[in-house]
Symmetry: C2
Subunit: 365 residues, 2 copies
């Protein structure tokens, strides 16, 4: 549970139905003991995957009016800041100004910036959002871009281990981000082949890789590290873990994952496991809980009537849009049913998907 | 926990900071196992008690756009509806149309209508909201007006037991509301004197009375009732319980209380206690948990620095508005810290504030 007085200011989307944006992030943070101040950057009926959604975006001036009243009333008192989907550059700039002000007033503020811009090659914000995020990066304590967002922020095409190293180096050294988590990189052969044995997937099923990269050294380096280059001369401490993919697409997973990382990120306490950084420990908890919730959601979706779990088929979907919305509905994250998972009931050392130290990362090529 | 497939559509205010409206209602419903679809009728920085708040109201056309997209996507599938603060008649009419549509499509829909209009003689919505609520009452399964709202809806001044009887009769028989809970009636002498001994407060400290009035008979009438008039000939089954008042004002208590009543209202299961109606059983749970959360909030406020718990003083507050906002901030409901209370941890038969049967209510005058 969160320490006394911990308070998150969450700025992201709101949907009436389903679990993306704030609806995927706020309840888990609350369950884990955080008071959450909730700013809605949009108010929509549902996420865009349903094809149609009603509602409005919150304008920059509306956001500023909210921030100004909070400041006037001395209610801007978060210990942590979480920002997610903010669809336009003007609104994002308003959030950026606020983040600067908060960080200036309280340098210990923990800011998890999720640069929500797109996925798998498709941008879902205005293109002028990208440079605003680049400007904001030095304010962040942790960032949680996906694969595509790393490419957008660094302008590096991730095609081999060297390009991954270069991208992380840029994030740490040019943008001064101390902690980076890339939640789900497809395990192409160049990545699979470069993985140390301890991290290689145990089965042949499709896997994704979760990587954490922190400028914090591990508390007690293992002997294998001390024999090689000392960590301090490397760019960062890398941890990684594979996670089997589940069939089909789930929305809001990244928003949930980022919220769980923020909830479990405790930079001022020494991780129980000496091979962990505070970031890799938080990412391990977030990965474990997110995957367990996804598995439960998948299992539940499989119990639905057949018409609510039809496979993706663009042609049939186009002919009957409700075919798609019914499938979406059955795949909304099961956060409420799965709230014990969020609280960590039944999660212990034996079933934690712990990110493992990748000690030769910076020496590989 | 809520039964499988239970889903609440909640339509009320949103504030970024603090716990009123949806922020007081949604988390408790989620903790108790309900998926909640969350429509924000306003998006404000904080509740109006702070004196200044930034943000916007959601217009009727914005609400309709949201409802229409949800209908189009087959996402209007609540088993329960909860409506609270809706500040204008036009927006309220949009909600009324939706409630009619939902009730028509699913007559078993449980609709808890909290006619949020004002408190202690002061109206905080537009006056033309009142007739719209009167029109909506026949749609409701449960209503939770406060003392002042009962007067507004029935045009009866509550000044003695007879006027209270008349007001309840109007709500049940002219507006066809099967279940009414009035959460907190000041225990003036006419009310105190008419209470049966089992309900009279045990101490001399200031008390409020919570009354439930249900057209559902109790499952097993006690011998004392069967000796008098059979319940079926009375207007309703009345239960009541006193609760000691806590010093000072807390915001959002009514919103929390209504959400807890809705969460615990199980009209199709027989209450464990044969002297209860489903309504009085739900109100007992809601009263117990609300009072325990208030007590915890009060205890916490007492630990704050002195400037955050200064007593109300209109003159000093006017000279220094922050004096008031700091007091408000310290008195925000402690829902997150107190989430175990919401889940019922430590609440059992011995410490439940059970509403007691008031079997002579309709015979008294």
């Amino acid at each position: 549970m969160a320490a006394e007085g911990e308070r998150v200011l969450s700025i992201q989307s709101h949907v009436v139905f389903g679990y993306v944006g704030g609806k995927a992030a706020v309840f888990p943070l609350q369950c884990l003991g955080y008071d959450v101040d909730v700013v809605n950057t949009v108010n929509f009926s549902n996420h865009s995957g349903y094809g149609r959604s009603g509602g409005t975006k919150t304008s920059a001036s509306e956001l500023n009016a909210i921030f100004e009243s909070m400041e006037h009333n001395e209610l801007l008192m978060p210990t942590r800041l979480l920002t997610g989907y903010i669809p336009g550059a003007e609104a994002l700039s308003a959030v950026s100004q606020l983040a600067k002000k908060l960080k200036h007033a309280k340098p210990s503020l923990i800011y998890l910036l999720d640069p929500v811009m797109g996925d798998a090659g498709r941008l879902y914000v205005a293109p002028d959002v990208v440079p605003v995020y680049q400007e904001m990066l030095p304010l962040a304590t942790v960032i949680t871009p996906n694969w595509f967002e790393v490419e957008l922020l660094t302008r590096i095409k991730l095609k081999d281990l060297v390009s991954l190293q270069r991208a992380l180096k840029i994030l740490h050294e040019e943008y001064y981000v101390p902690n980076v988590v890339i939640s789900s990189i497809p395990l192409k052969s160049w990545l699979l082949d470069s993985l140390p044995d301890a991290i290689k997937p145990s089965s042949d099923s499709e896997n994704l890789l979760c990587i954490s990269s922190s400028t914090t050294p591990i508390s007690s380096p293992s002997s294998s590290i001390s024999m090689t280059t000392p960590l301090s001369s490397s760019t960062s401490t890398i941890h990684a873990q594979c996670v089997p993919t589940l069939p089909g697409y789930f929305s809001g997973v990244g928003d949930l994952f980022s919220a769980l990382i923020l909830a479990h990120f405790l930079p001022h306490s020494t991780p129980a496991n000496p091979q962990c950084t505070p970031l890799s420990a938080a990412a391990s908890q977030a990965l474990t809980k997110t995957h367990a919730l996804l598995q439960a959601t998948h299992d539940y979706a499989m119990t639905l009537p057949e018409e609510e779990r039809l496979p993706t088929d663009d042609e049939l979907d186009a002919a009957n849009p409700l075919r798609k919305t019914r499938r979406m509905r059955g795949r909304e994250l099961g956060l409420i049913k799965g709230q014990d998972i969020i609280r960590g009931v039944g999660i212990d050392e034996t079933n934690t998907r712990r990110l493992q130290l990748w000690d030769q990362f910076w020496e590989s090529s």
